[in-house]
């Protein structure tokens, strides 16, 4: 069964119909890139998957988003539980104005730690240290910051901050990670590091990445979805989308004649 099954998803912001009848099925352990011109609903789409659109006044979501077999838009679903299982990395690095350690320890501290039997208990200091080290190693930041974990995260460079945000998302042990244009504020070297990391995280995590950079989509993604004006135009293997698009609109976008 698919990890994320989206059925007839419609999103309205006041009178603006931002997503129209989007249905898509995302497999576990794959990287899916979401591409399309600005304002086509890419970000809106991935923000539906962890219900971040709930925060926006006047946003109305219809349809089903089934994650691990549960519709996260069911009435009795606890939004906080949904977000605990899904990590998110934003366009601009947004670390908390706290130390590097505290940035990562925050989520395990408020949620507690789940032990082998599935019981949740308060995180001990040692457990927090383990989680922080593990997350930082996983996001390839450990060697750069291990000597200054107590220093403010704001002293890091943009690329390091973004990897810190990835580490922070990994610390909740999510099954899915959503990336909303994670490299648009970074230089090419930092971007390359994030891309390596993405490929490294594949298999273990289901990754959705919104990107404006088509080369990036082609480099990292298994599947690619092309959105235009709120419609999902085409979804398929990345290679097929870039080399042999079925839809005319996709071809126009890929070849740079539009958007």
């Amino acid at each position: 069964m698919a990890k994320i099954q989206v059925e007839k998803l419609n999103v309205h912001f006041e009178k603006n119909h931002a997503l129209k009848d989007v249905s898509i099925s995302i497999e576990e352990g794959e990287i899916t890139a979401i591409i399309g011109p600005s304002g086509c609903g890419k970000s809106t789409f991935i923000r539906c998957i962890n219900r971040m659109n709930d925060l926006i006044l006047g946003c109305k979501v219809d349809g089903n988003v089934i994650v691990d077999g549960n519709n996260i838009y069911d009435k009795d679903v606890d939004v906080v539980d949904v977000r605990k299982k899904i990590g998110m990395v934003f366009q601009k690095p947004n670390p908390f104005p706290k130390s590097i350690f505290e940035n990562i320890a925050y989520a395990p501290r408020i949620h507690g730690v789940t032990d082998g039997d599935g019981n949740v208990h308060k995180a001990s200091k040692k457990e927090l240290q383990e989680i922080v080290e593990w997350s930082l190693r996983r996001s390839a930041l450990w060697d750069e910051v291990k000597d200054r974990l107590d220093k403010s995260a704001y002293n890091l460079s943009g690329g390091q901050q973004q990897r810190l945000c990835i580490a922070r998302a990994l610390a909740i042990r999510p099954g899915i990670i959503l990336f909303d244009e994670p490299c648009s504020a970074l230089d090419p070297i930092a971007t390359a590091k994030i891309e390596d990391l993405l490929i490294d995280l594949k298999n273990e995590y289901t990754v959705l990445i919104v990107t404006h950079n088509m080369q990036q989509a082609a480099r990292v993604a298994d599947k690619t979805a092309y959105f235009y004006m709120g419609d999902l135009i085409e979804f398929g293997e990345t290679k097929q989308i870039f080399e042999n698009p079925k839809e005319k609109l996709t071809e126009q976008y890929i070849t740079g004649r539009m958007g």
Partner: protein, 229 residues
């Protein structure tokens, strides 16, 4: 009248300030945070802030009249410490609320999003992020509004001070306060004796405010150093 010290006015002012702090800080800070975080840009909250901005500009003698009518007569508190401190809180509340709102609005929304996306509840986000990051701004607002109320004469003149009041034993006793004492000294017939006392009392009042501000500045700097963005 020119005989006797100013212990009673000093204690009176300190007690007044403590009560104003006790009344207006929880209501002002928590109220402003609640409205900005939970009502956001809703129409009701916009109307609310328009009202608060106007209330912040209301002359203090008008608040004195409100206190006199509402607290002293209608609620029958009499000329008392309670009526005076609540009236002074009317002056301080809008100022504290506006300062809190500005400090909270200054936090980038991307930080709130980061916390919410990690599965934190709204309250956890407010407690662990909004309040600590805005604390230095809120503290500054509290100091400024408290310093202003410490020097207010009109509101307490109408609601709680009496010429020869002693150090109060209960909330319903009338009190003395430094600004009122200064006013009184400038109004007595024995000017040559009273005017120096008014100046001395004014110096003490200024000293009190400076000490208060220094304490708050130290506190504020600690927060500023801890959470910098």
């Amino acid at each position: 009248m020119v005989s006797g010290g100013i212990l009673s006015p000093i204690i009176g002012t300190i007690i007044l300030m403590a009560l104003v702090l006790l009344i207006s800080v929880p209501i002002g800070v928590l109220g402003a945070i609640f409205i900005t975080e939970y009502w956001g840009n809703h129409r009701i909250s916009r109307i609310w802030w328009m009202v608060v901005n106007n209330l912040a500009g209301v002359p203090s003698i008008v608040w004195g009249l409100v206190g006199l009518g509402l607290l002293v007569y209608y609620l029958d508190f009499g000329l008392s410490l309670l009526a005076a401190s609540i009236t002074l809180s009317f002056v301080a509340l809008p100022l504290i609320m506006i300062a809190t709102k500005e400090a909270v609005d200054a936090i980038p929304s991307s930080i709130r999003e980061a916390s919410i996306a990690l599965g934190a509840t709204k309250w956890q986000t407010i407690r662990h992020h909004t309040i600590p990051y805005s604390a230095s701004g809120i503290l500054t607002g509290i100091i400024l509004s408290l310093s202003r109320t410490a020097g207010e004469t009109a509101p307490i003149l109408l609601t709680g001070v009496a010429v020869n009041a002693a150090i109060p034993n209960s909330l319903f006793d009338s009190i003395q306060a430094l600004p009122y004492y200064i006013y009184l000294m400038t109004q007595t017939s024995d000017r040559s004796a009273a005017i120096p006392m008014a100046y001395a009392a004014a110096l003490v009042l200024i000293f009190l405010i400076v000490v208060m501000n220094l304490g708050a500045i130290v506190l504020r700097n600690r927060y500023r150093k801890k959470y910098r963005w």
